[in-house]
């Protein structure tokens, strides 16, 4: 919200400089985001009067003027056709910066200095509206008001000797959405109480009740509704002071009546509305709920379809305003308005919010009402607005106000225990210190006992309902930085972060393998999310078609990242991401039927090693990935898993290999299908593995086993088998041979082709044998190897290859 320094001074006198005020308000919770000296850019500009104008001796279009600027009379060369003696003009003095240069295509500012123009000295510049950045007119100089005081600074003449603050007001403090509201907080700083101007009204003898009536049907959403009627006003521009005030607060002046309603809102926080009396049929107002589907045009010219339950201000026939949100075009103040109905009301905040939200309207009024206005401010604002309209637009104020307020809203009585306050804050404040803090906020102590006091909370403080709310106020006034900082040693035993350890382990292992950790956006197009075949979670209000669903896999994100890297010439890629994936499940889950899993995805493509002079780097293959996955599972503390080669439910990879751990599928690895790579613009072979973290959790406690005491022996054997016998089957066959001595089987060679019959291949293994009891001797080793070989020959039709 924008606030004017000068305007604040109307309610409370304070000597704080803008910088101090900003700092101190910020420390009270009113975050001053910035402030601006409005007149800054008119430094060095003054009001002058042209005394005489003579033709320039050497230039057709120029004139030489003598201009009185109060202290002295300057000679100024001027090119404007409209310059004339007697005019009051804006004079830029040497050293001043002209905000816009009308001879520059971009209007860049420039600084004035004493110059000679065609041989004649010029000691300043008479400026146009455009040059002063006050409007579009470039054709001539700006002529000021006849009454402007010679020598006065231009910024003062324009009402810009002011500072505008931009303050972020939190949504719990609607009472701060006005100058008076902020003045109250300044009161905390200065120890003075601010006050609103006293209203003095001159009413006519004609009673308002004779000419107007109000009926509130929806009493729940409209607890208070008040009007006054002013006849025979003259609509026109507002006086200078009012325009200046509104501009400083960031509003554009319109006409005197509308400006007054805005001024009063910015003064005391109560939004107002003015109707054209002539447009209110039946000279009455009825407040009631709209029929859903009714269409209504607001004063900004937009057509709306009213939602169920929208509260409307109606005349005898039709809707004339969306209550507390925005007035209607059909009854707005126009240049021809003569009689005005002024509304000041208090609306139920949630009703206003529902309506404004349903219609997508944001307005200053709705902003305040939905946060909560002050029901006690209604009559003051109404009278104040009436007073200012009489002042600025004239007219006759009918006697009395109509004020429908059936159920009085009282000040809240909130208890506060001194002990509780200290227990929350860690302070040792006394009861009287607390009372003093709250008194600065206008919160008075009522009844009380030793520890517990009751406080009367003014109605404008909608945020204070409970003891804790008062405690916050005590802390605020006492000063957060006056509360001592204390550290406490304690250990949480509820969250031994096992999941964290697993994720960290995976991350560290992969980084050790040379992977870069990537993080990709979890929201993607529905087309991409559907690639996995899972049913994606679709957003109701997406940013666009490309960002409309939640990812079902981490693979597409990494493919996109890979493609981007490839386009920058980085083609050797090892990437991984740990993140959540989502899908709609048929079963109910923790949240709705959304299944959310944390996964790790490995992506690799390109060469296995950087180029080196001594040895070649090689293209990565599926076996590089398969090995790294096995190492990763090892690192997770898993000692048994199974690969499943035949499932085909994976849609992103060809011939995927599934990893099964303890009977559940943990994920898969494989080569990304060419068409999938292409879809993401990646033009290389790529391999991915995607595993669910929860499946990688090992329940096994780490436990020591005694180290073997006797040496290992190694024997190599090679078999010729049918091509369709896999290495895994052969390994299993050897391991299941019942040999207690066989510790490991390592495949070290595979060969197909020349010297072998068609349909056959050769596989060579190293058998590692070891006994727990003794050092094996040759004949024991030979017997054992023979036993294993015989089994493989018998079971798999293999033939031992003579070496």
């Amino acid at each position: 919200m924008k606030l004017s320094h000068n305007w604040l001074q109307h309610y409370i006198k304070f000597k704080l400089a803008p910088e101090q005020l900003s700092e101190q308000l910020t420390m009270l919770g009113l975050e001053v985001e910035s402030y601006e000296h409005l007149g800054e850019k008119y430094k060095g500009f003054v009001v002058g009067q042209v005394l005489e104008v003579q033709k320039h001796p050497n230039a057709e279009k120029l004139s030489v003027c003598r201009v009185n600027i109060g202290k002295e009379v300057l000679q100024i060369v001027c090119g404007a056709p409209n310059v004339a003696a007697g005019q009051k003009v804006a004079v830029g003095l040497s050293g001043a910066t002209v905000p816009k240069n009308q001879h520059d295509p971009n209007g860049k500012p420039f600084t004035l200095s004493h110059v000679k123009l065609r041989g004649v000295d010029s000691f300043g510049m008479i400026c146009s509206e455009y040059e002063l950045d006050l409007g579009p007119d470039k054709d001539g100089i700006l002529v000021l008001d006849r009454k402007a005081k010679i020598g006065r600074s231009l910024s003062s003449y324009l009402g810009l000797d002011d500072v505008a603050y931009e303050i972020g007001i939190t949504p719990n403090r609607p009472d701060l959405l006005s100058h008076f509201g902020v003045a109250r907080e300044i009161g905390i700083l200065t120890g003075k109480q601010p006050s609103l101007p006293k209203v003095k009204l001159r009413e006519s003898t004609v009673s308002v009740a004779k000419h107007f009536s109000v009926k509130v049907e929806d009493k729940v959403n409209c607890p208070r509704f008040a009007v006054r009627v002013i006849r025979n006003v003259k609509i026109g521009p507002s006086p200078e002071w009012l325009q200046h005030a509104l501009r400083a607060a960031g509003l554009r002046p319109r006409n005197n009546v509308v400006d007054v309603t805005n001024y009063v809102m910015l003064e005391c926080g109560q939004p107002m509305h003015a109707f054209d009396y002539a447009q209110l049929r039946g000279s009455k107002i009825i407040v009631r709920q709209a029929k859903a589907g009714t269409s209504f045009r607001t004063l900004d010219g937009k057509e709306h379809t009213l939602p169920e339950g929208a509260v409307m201000v109606c005349d005898g026939v039709r809707e004339v305003s969306i209550a507390g949100v925005m007035g209607g075009e059909n009854s707005e103040i126009s240049d021809t308005t003569t009689d005005v109905v002024l509304e000041s009301a208090y609306w139920n905040p949630s009703s206003i919010r529902r309506t404004a939200k349903a219609l997508g309207i944001t307005s200053d009024a709705a902003y305040r009402f939905e946060r909560g206005a002050d029901p006690h401010a209604t009559p003051y604002a109404l009278d104040r607005a009436a007073e200012l309209i009489l002042q600025t637009a004239g007219g006759e104020l009918l006697k009395g106000r109509i004020d429908i307020y059936p159920k009085k809203i009282n000040e809240r009585i909130v208890p506060l225990r001194t002990s509780r306050c200290n227990r929350i804050l860690g302070t040792s404040l006394s009861s009287s210190e607390i009372v003093l803090c709250l008194k600065k906020l206008g919160i008075a102590k009522g009844k009380g006992s030793a520890d517990k006091n009751f406080f009367r909370v003014p109605t404008f403080r909608v945020d204070i309902e409970r003891e804790i709310d008062l405690i916050e106020e005590v802390a605020r006034v006492f000063g957060y930085n006056n509360i001592e900082s204390k550290t406490v040693a304690a250990i949480d035993l509820n969250h031994p972060f096992e999941k964290q350890i697993l994720a960290d382990r995976i991350c560290d292992t992969l980084v050790g393998f040379g992977y870069q950790e990537a993080l990709t956006i979890s929201i993607q197009s529905e087309e991409t999310s559907r690639l996995t075949g899972a049913s994606p979670v679709v957003l109701m209000n997406p940013l666009g078609k490309e960002m409309s669903t939640m990812r079902t896999s981490l693979i597409p994100g990494l493919l996109e990242a890979a493609a981007r890297n490839q386009s920058f010439g980085n083609t050797d890629l090892r990437l991984f991401e740990i993140g959540h994936v989502f899908r709609v499940d048929s079963e109910p889950q923790m949240v709705g039927n959304i299944r959310e899993d944390e996964r790790v995805c490995l992506f690799l493509s390109g060469k296995n090693l950087p180029r080196h002079w001594k040895s070649d780097s090689q293209e990565l293959t599926l076996y590089d990935l398969k090995g790294e996955v096995a190492d990763l599972l090892d690192a997770c503390g898993l000692d048994s898993w199974r690969y499943i080669y035949y499932s085909t439910s994976e849609t992103l990879a060809e011939n995927p290999i599934f990893v099964e751990i303890n009977g559940t599928t943990a994920g898969f690895l494989g080569k990304v299908k060419g068409e999938v790579c292409k879809r993401f613009g990646f033009e290389q072979e790529a391999f991915v593995a995607e595993l669910t973290l929860s499946a990688l959790k090992s329940d096994k406690k780490k436990k020591y086993t005694a180290l073997p005491k006797f040496p290992k022996v190694r024997r190599d054997v090679a078999f010729v088998v049918d091509s369709n016998v896999t290495s895994e089957i052969m390994e299993r066959c050897m391991k299941e041979s019942g040999s207690g001595l066989l510790q490991e089987v390592e495949l070290f060679d595979m060969y197909e082709g020349e010297n072998l019959p068609k349909g056959k291949k050769s596989l060579a293994f190293t058998l590692v044998l070891q006994s727990q009891e003794k050092t094996l001797v040759d004949h024991e080793i030979d017997t054992e190897v023979r036993r294993i070989v015989t089994r493989v020959e018998r079971e798999l039709g293999a033939e031992l290859r003579s070496s």
């Binding site: 910020t26 420390m27 919770g29 975050e31 910035s34 949504p171 719990n172 403090r173 949630s350 919010r353 939905e370 227990r423 929350i424 804050l425 860690g426 302070t427 916050e472 802390a475 957060y480 509360i483 001592e484 900082s485 204390k486 406490v488 040693a489 304690a490 949480d492 035993l493 509820n494 969250h495 031994p496 972060f497 991350c507 980084v511 050790g512 040379g514 870069q516 950790e517 990537a518 993080l519 956006i521 979890s522 929201i523 979670v537 957003l539 109701m540 997406p542 940013l543 960002m547 990242a561 981007r564 890297n565 920058f568 980085n570 090892r574 993140g579 959540h580 923790m590 709705g592 959310e596």
Partner: protein, 335 residues
């Protein structure tokens, strides 16, 4: 004498040229420069030189000694910087490198934050990224139809289910599933319906903290966060806590530290204020305790939260947070 000196000088010049190893250099030193070396022995001879010639001979001899020492020093320096090249081994050839893996800068930042809080006795918890209204809003004291809900632009899946807008729903889950004392941090990914720009993204990381026990005070909140900030940003930082508003804490505060880029003078990063906002915090609102069935009279607690992207961007001087999600390896390798 002068002839002797000249001869020795020639010898020195010739022999230094053929020195190629440390060993040869050492032999050279012993031969010429040692206490009983050839140069020293000429000094011994000096006493036999006739008096008139002595000054001149002494001068030449000193020059010889200096020259020899200089040649020795030069050679020693050059031997140190010249590799031993032989037919078998050129040690200047490049070694075999690997592709270096790196952890994502956001995760590195998060790790650092986590380790500080873990060091102060906090546990780590997590929760789902897709949440229901209860955990994300209602239980956190955001009443329905309240403007506070506008503070966070929300992606909805349906009327009740949404992408969590902060990590605070994990507070609710932690409290629902545990009894105090609780001291835990909750890192994770959150979502806001905001157009992607250099300063905002539709998803980002936060870390939340929660402490609930008998006797926890605002004073302890300040102490804990101050310890964190001093450890993370440096022990000499200046700081301030100023009042703010979050529906789920009261009193609520924001913590600022002096801008470490301009040291409080005012710069673009701190919007000329000299202060950087680093986190939001406050005492757990009694309504939140009531939502999870804790007795607000018995327990008090504090909560805090901070954004990781902003923290990492400040720390590393990254001026466009989109870089964190583009995964350009040239970027990732810088951390």
């Amino acid at each position: 004498m002068q002839t002797k000196i000249a001869q020795l000088r020639q010898q020195v010049e010739a022999e230094i040229g053929s020195v190629t190893t440390e060993d040869q250099l050492e032999a050279f030193r012993i031969k010429f420069l040692a206490r009983k070396g050839l140069v020293a022995s000429l000094f011994d001879d000096l006493k036999n030189v006739p008096a008139p010639e002595k000054p001149m001979a002494g001068k030449y001899l000193n020059e010889l000694r200096q020259r020899t020492q200089m040649l020795f020093d030069e050679k020693a320096a050059s031997l140190k910087s010249t590799p031993h090249v032989s037919a078998q081994l050129d040690p200047t050839l490049p070694g075999r490198r690997k592709f270096l893996g790196t952890k994502h800068p956001l995760m590195q930042t998060l790790d650092e934050i986590k380790s500080i809080f873990v060091g102060m006795g906090f546990g780590i918890a997590d929760g789902p990224e897709i949440e229901d209204d209860w955990h994300n809003f209602s239980a956190l004291n955001f009443p329905p139809d309240h403007p506070a809900r506008d503070m966070q632009d929300t992606f909805f899946v349906d009327r009740n289910i949404l992408l969590r807008t902060h990590t605070s729903p994990v507070q609710i889950r932690v409290m629902e599933n545990n009894t105090p004392p609780i001291r835990t941090i909750m890192p994770g990914r959150v979502y806001r319906n905001e157009a992607v720009s250099a300063r905002s993204l539709c998803n980002f990381y936060q870390v939340e903290g929660l402490a609930v026990d008998v006797g926890i005070t605002f004073s302890e909140l300040k102490g804990t966060l101050l310890s964190f900030a001093r450890r993370f940003y440096g022990k000499d930082i200046k700081y301030r806590f100023r009042p703010s508003f979050f529906p789920f804490t009261e009193p609520s505060a924001e913590m600022d530290i002096t801008c470490f880029i301009c040291r409080g003078k005012g710069c673009r990063m701190c919007k000329q204020s000299g202060w950087l906002e680093i986190l939001g915090c406050g005492m757990v609102d009694p309504n939140v305790f009531t939502s999870v069935g804790y007795d607000p009279e018995k327990y008090t607690g504090y909560a805090f939260g901070m954004g990781i992207e902003r923290t990492a961007a400040l720390l590393y001087g990254v001026d466009d947070i989109r870089l964190f999600y583009e995964n350009d390896v040239r970027f990732l390798r810088q951390f």
